[in-house]
Subunit: 211 residues, 2 copies
DNA sequence: ATCAAATTGTTAAAAAATTCACGATTAACT
DNA sequence: AGTTAATCGTGAATTTTTTAACAATTTGAT
C-alpha cells in the first residue's frame, strides 16, 4: 500500500468532515479556497494534500464533493474500526453518546466499568459489562482500539489488560502517562494539555504577527 | 520573549505531566531514558527539547525532577489560563469535572447552557448560567479560551458569540468545522477524527516495521 | 588516582512538512 | 473565436522537525 505523509492523512479526516457537511447542504463542487476557509488551513496545503491521492479537481470549478469524499475514503478509511471503552463515568458516557461515532466508520462494540451498578445497562445501544468479562469479550470480537476513560489511578491497570488481550492501539484520556510495550501505540488526550498547548501556540503566533 | 519550536512546547506539557507523577512518587532524579519510556518518546528528543530551555541535567544522574518542572513552567505556563465553557451536556459535565483542571494552571470561570433547567446550578464549584448572560460575564472576567461542547447545530453560533466577546482562542469539541475571522485560533478536537487518525498512524507504522 | 559506565548537551545531517511560484486547464463572457 | 478570470497541480525553495554522532561531564568502583 502506498504511503502518504502522516499529516496529510490526519488532515484527510478533517476534509472528510467538511465534505460531509457540504454534501448534506447539497453542494456539488467546492474549491480549495473555500475548504481553506472552512478548515482554517491554507488553499495550497489543501491542494497539495489532495494531489497526493490523485487528480480529481477541475480547474475553474473545484472539487466534486462526492468524488473527493470517495477518493479520500478509499485511501484512508478502508474498514470499520472496532473500539472498546473502559470507564463509563462522565467522560465515558459522553464518548458513548458522541454523535460522530454513530455514523459510519467507528463502532464501539462494548463498554466496561468496575461499578457493578452500571453492568447490564446500555447507553446508545452499547452494552456495559463488568470489568471481569472484558478479557473474554475482547478476545471474541475483533477489537482494534481500546479507550481508557477511568480515573487515573486505574489507567495503567487497564492498559495492561488491553495489552494482554492483544489490543495494539490505545487512546488514553486519563491525565497520566501509561507504559506499554513496544509495538503498542498510545494516543494521549489530556484536555488540560490541549488547552495549554493551544494557548501557548496562540501566544507565540500572536508574537510572530507583531514581529 | 524567546520563541521555542512549537512541537517542543507541546511536548513540554507532556514532560510536566510525567514530572508531576514522579515528584508525587518522591523521585528526585530522572534520566532522559526513563522519561522516554514513560512518555513513549525517544531519549534524544527529550534531551533536545529540554536543552532548548536551559542546562539543568547532570551527566550520569539525570534531571532533578523539581528543578526541571520549575524550568519548564517558567517558559511555558507563566499564567493561569481562564476558560469559559458552553454546553453542559455529557461532554461539558465531563470537562467541568476533569481532574487536570482542578489543580494549577487552568481555571474554568463560568459555564453556560441554553437549557434553563441547568441555570443557577454548579458543578465542581463552577456556576452554570443561561446563555444570555454570557456576553456580560465574559466581558467582566478576563477570558482567554472558550470551549464549545454544544450540539453541532449550535456550534457556529457560539463561536460567533465568543468572537464578539473578544475571545481569541476556541476549543471546539463539536464534530463540525467552525468559521472564525483571522486572528482567532481554533483547536478542533473531534473524537472520531482522533480515533481514525490513531488507527491509520498505527497501520502505517506497522507497515514500516515489516518493510 | 585512575578507569569504566552512564548520561547530558550540542553540532551536523537527514527527513518531513510547508510555502512559494507559476504553468496548465477550464468555464464564462463578449 | 478569443479573452479573461478562476482554479488546479506541481516542482523547487524554504522552514521545521527529527535523528544521528559524538564530545564533555560526572559518579562509582577498583
Amino acid at each position: 500500500m502506498k504511503r502518504f505523509p502522516q499529516r496529510t492523512i490526519i488532515r484527510a479526516f478533517i476534509y472528510l468532515r467538511a465534505l460531509d457537511a457540504l454534501i448534506e447542504d447539497g453542494r456539488v463542487y467546492v474549491s480549495s479556497g473555500e475548504l481553506a476557509t472552512i478548515t482554517s488551513l491554507t488553499d495550497v496545503q489543501i491542494r497539495k494534500d489532495i494531489s497526493a491521492f490523485g487528480k480529481v479537481g477541475k480547474p475553474r470549478v473545484g472539487y466534486d464533493t462526492r468524488r473527493l469524499k470517495q477518493l479520500l475514503e478509499e485511501f484512508v478509511v478502508q474498514n470499520v474500526v472496532h473500539v472498546v471503552l473502559f470507564g463509563v463515568g462522565n467522560l465515558g458516557s459522553a464518548i458513548l453518546r458522541y454523535p460522530g461515532f454513530q455514523e459510519d466508520k467507528i463502532k464501539i462494540v462494548a463498554a466496561f466499568d468496575s461499578d457493578p451498578e452500571k453492568g447490564d445497562k446500555a447507553i446508545n445501544g452499547i452494552s456495559i459489562y463488568p470489568l471481569d468479562k472484558a478479557k473474554m469479550i475482547i478476545q471474541k470480537k475483533h477489537v482494534e482500539i481500546g479507550v481508557i476513560a477511568v480515573p487515573k489511578q486505574a489507567s495503567q491497570q487497564i492498559a495492561d489488560l488491553l495489552v494482554s488481550c492483544g489490543v495494539e492501539c490505545v487512546v488514553n484520556f486519563s491525565p497520566t502517562n501509561i507504559s506499554v510495550p513496544k509495538g503498542t501505540f498510545v494516543k494521549n488526550i489530556d484536555l488540560a494539555v490541549e488547552f495549554l498547548a493551544l494557548f501557548c501556540d496562540m501566544s507565540s503566533k500572536k508574537a510572530a504577527q507583531h514581529a
